[in-house]
């Protein structure tokens, strides 16, 4: 029986890609509580994307298990996909389609239709300040506008769990604030957010709990404030990150 408080449970999760001997993630164990904003942080190549990809059902682990709301992908893939929302780091939209056409298409794939879908699209576009651009093609949008539409496409169906892979990368301060404010609101309404970012200050302010992953292993986990208070030399989340993962460049 899975713990109901934990909407995501990761048990001894290991992934070794074919053709490599070193695991991308090695025996990871994590529990994410319902309603949390969970930050998965780490340098490039640490194993964040691999972990998120397995949690989203993009591929299977080499060993170990993940439980999403008590279910696993082997048995309940379709049910899980209906309760999760994914906001990829890349702008996963069709550039020659308008914002409304993109959202209508993704809404239909989630089974939304008719007036309900239309109302939800209008509501989201208004929420993110894009209602005037609904009929414009994505390729004409600025970086910040694309990020916001990319986010809306992942939350349109009001998922219980939202995976956000670098949702604010490359956007201006205004867009970043809009995105983070609305994500906080969505979280307040009950959604659990799993978030990755390279912006430590943002993660420190945004996340209720973080885990730092490096070389495929979780090296620290806890509430940002508690982690900062745990050692004198820790002044903020970035200082923890640098002390634990080192200052050497990570290009892969």
């Amino acid at each position: 029986m899975q713990n109901k408080k934990h909407i995501i449970e990761i048990k001894h999760l290991t992934k070794v890609y074919k053709g490599t001997s070193k695991p991308a993630i090695d025996d990871i164990n994590l529990d994410i509580t319902t309603g949390e904003i969970f930050g998965l942080l780490g340098p490039n190549g640490a194993g964040k994307t691999t972990t998120i990809s397995i949690l989203c059902g993009l591929f299977a682990p080499t060993s170990g298990n993940v439980f999403i709301d008590g279910m696993d992908y082997q048995h309940s893939s379709e049910t899980i996909k209906n309760i999760i929302g994914v906001v990829p780091q890349d702008i996963a939209l069709y550039p020659t389609l308008t914002a409304k056409e993109n959202l209508t298409f993704f809404g239909h794939l989630y089974g939304l239709k008719g007036k309900k879908l239309k109302t939800r699209i209008d509501e989201c576009l208004e929420l993110f300040g894009l209602e005037k651009n609904a009929g414009k093609k994505i390729k004409t949008f600025s970086g910040g506008m694309k990020r916001r539409i990319n986010l809306i496409a992942g939350i349109l169906h009001k998922p219980k769990i939202i995976f956000l892979d670098e949702p604010t990368v490359g956007v201006d301060v205004q867009s970043r604030n809009v995105i983070l404010d609305h994500l906080r609101n969505i979280n307040k309404e009950g959604a659990t957010l799993i978030y990755t970012s390279h912006y430590m200050e943002e993660a420190e302010n945004f996340c209720s709990k973080v885990a730092i992953i490096d070389k495929g292993e979780i090296i620290i986990e806890g509430h940002p404030e508690e982690l900062i208070k745990s050692k004198e030399e820790y002044t903020n989340l970035e200082s923890i990150f640098l002390q634990l993962t080192g200052r050497a460049l990570r290009d892969e």
Binding site: A92, Y94, T96, L97
Partner: protein, 427 residues
């Protein structure tokens, strides 16, 4: 169903928003079919309507020279040249002109050639009648064989050379028979002086009647359009592989595939929506190409495409060909990791399939091993099916084996794509 319809609509929007791509998709196959049919029309007509310029040096000035000369002039196959700058052409001039590629062929009929043939015929007849001791049939010495020289431009095609040789042999054979009969007649006159001499009558004893075989009894006359429109239509349908594979790779590169794979419903639904749209494109291409054959090519002086009565067979075969092409496109788009890989492999493999399918060289004249390999080319199946309909007047039953093979190819390609996706996800 909502997911499938929505995916089809999305693919439709993506397609029509790319105006330049859409124009290329429809206009290029039409250019291909017009240009290739015009070019192939000349090859199909072969020597007949090409009116190729040829040098004739007639040094004989007697029956043989006249027979060859008249035969060539009357055939309308060739434009005969006997003088240059007002002067009669010599053998050296002819050899030089052909060697320089100014003329494809130069025929040199030697001096006293007819006389030599007459002597040879007489020698042959007299030898046969020598035992009868008929007056005037004393043994004669045979002259050496008459050599008609034919200078050929090395760039001349083998088929053209064969056609010319066949025509020349026909003209000279007729003359040889005529001379033989004339001498035979005069010999008999010597044997039976009281009888009236036998008149030689040029009577053709064998006639060749060409009938194009058809299972239904209705005859469709083959012409360049009947041959080329189906062939190049099949070729063009398969080129749908390139934009389809490109569409799949683009979607993957832009990151939409990641989102789609994390959404409810099978990714196969997305694939089917692409197949549906590109199949529709292939069918529109097919209709446009038939219309070109039916209305545009006749306006350019070519024969009109006869579609024949078996339209259901034609539609079924076109759809099956479209499925085979889209299946191949899905497999390439799934396996290739870059646009460069997909476009190079896709284009080259279609050309190989087309070559094996007999689009350039008929399969029946290919080497045995290649003929066996051809049996596995989807373009061969499609082309054979189209020939069944357009040339052999075949109905749906006649093309069912080809339809089955094309659909089987589609299914195999789709399974390869799905299997590859699964393996890739398991990495």
């Amino acid at each position: 169903m909502l997911r499938l319809i929505s995916s089809i609509y999305k693919e439709f929007l993506v397609l029509i928003r790319d105006r330049a791509g859409l124009a290329i998709l429809f206009i290029m196959p039409l250019f291909l079919i017009i240009i290739m049919t015009l070019i192939q029309d000349a090859t199909f007509k072969s020597v007949k309507d090409a009116n190729i310029s040829m040098i004739l040096v007639n040094n004989d000035h007697d029956s043989l020279g006249a027979a060859i000369s008249n035969g060539l002039y009357e055939s309308d196959f060739f434009h005969i040249v006997e003088t240059m700058d007002g002067d009669p052409i010599t053998e050296d001039m002819a050899q030089q002109a052909v060697a320089q590629g100014k003329y494809k062929i130069g025929i040199i009929i030697p001096e006293r050639a007819t006389e030599a043939i007459r002597e040879n015929v007489k020698a042959l007849i007299n030898k046969s009648f020598s035992s009868f001791n008929i007056p005037g049939t004393k043994r004669r010495t045979r002259k050496s064989t008459v050599d008609i020289k034919i200078y050929i431009d090395p760039a001349t095609s083998q088929s053209f050379k064969n056609s010319l040789m066949s025509s020349l042999k026909e003209f000279t054979a007729e003359l040889e028979i005529k001379l033989f009969f004339q001498n035979f007649s005069s010999t008999l006159a010597g044997m039976f002086p009281d009888q009236d001499p036998i008149e030689f009558e040029n009577f053709q004893t064998i006639n060749y009647e060409e009938i194009y075989a058809s299972t239904t009894g209705d005859e469709i006359l083959p012409n360049s359009v009947q041959h080329n429109v189906p062939a190049w239509t099949m070729f063009a349908i398969f080129f749908i592989v390139l934009p389809l594979a490109g569409n799949i790779i683009k979607e993957r590169d832009e990151g939409s595939v990641v989102r789609l794979k994390t959404m409810p419903g099978s990714y196969v639904t997305v694939m089917f929506s692409k197949i549906f749209i590109y199949l529709a494109v292939a069918m529109v291409q097919f209709i446009l190409m038939l219309m070109v054959g039916r209305y545009l090519l006749p306006a350019m002086g070519l024969p009109q495409l006869e579609i024949g009565p078996h339209k259901i067979a034609l539609i079924a075969l076109a759809i099956a060909s479209g499925f085979a092409a889209t299946g191949f496109g899905v497999a390439i788009g799934t396996i290739a990791t870059t646009h460069e890989q997909a476009s190079t492999f896709g284009a080259v493999s279609i050309i190989i399939f087309a070559a094996l399918g007999g689009i350039w060289v008929p399969v029946y004249i290919m080497p045995h091993t290649i003929r066996i390999i051809s049996e596995f080319s989807p373009l061969y199946w499609g082309l054979n099916g189209f020939y069944d309909i357009f040339l052999r007047n075949g109905n749906i039953v006649a093309v069912l084996p080809e339809i089955f093979k094309l659909i089987f190819f589609f299914a195999v390609m789709l399974l390869i794509a799905i299997g590859y996706n699964k393996i890739n996800n398991a990495k």
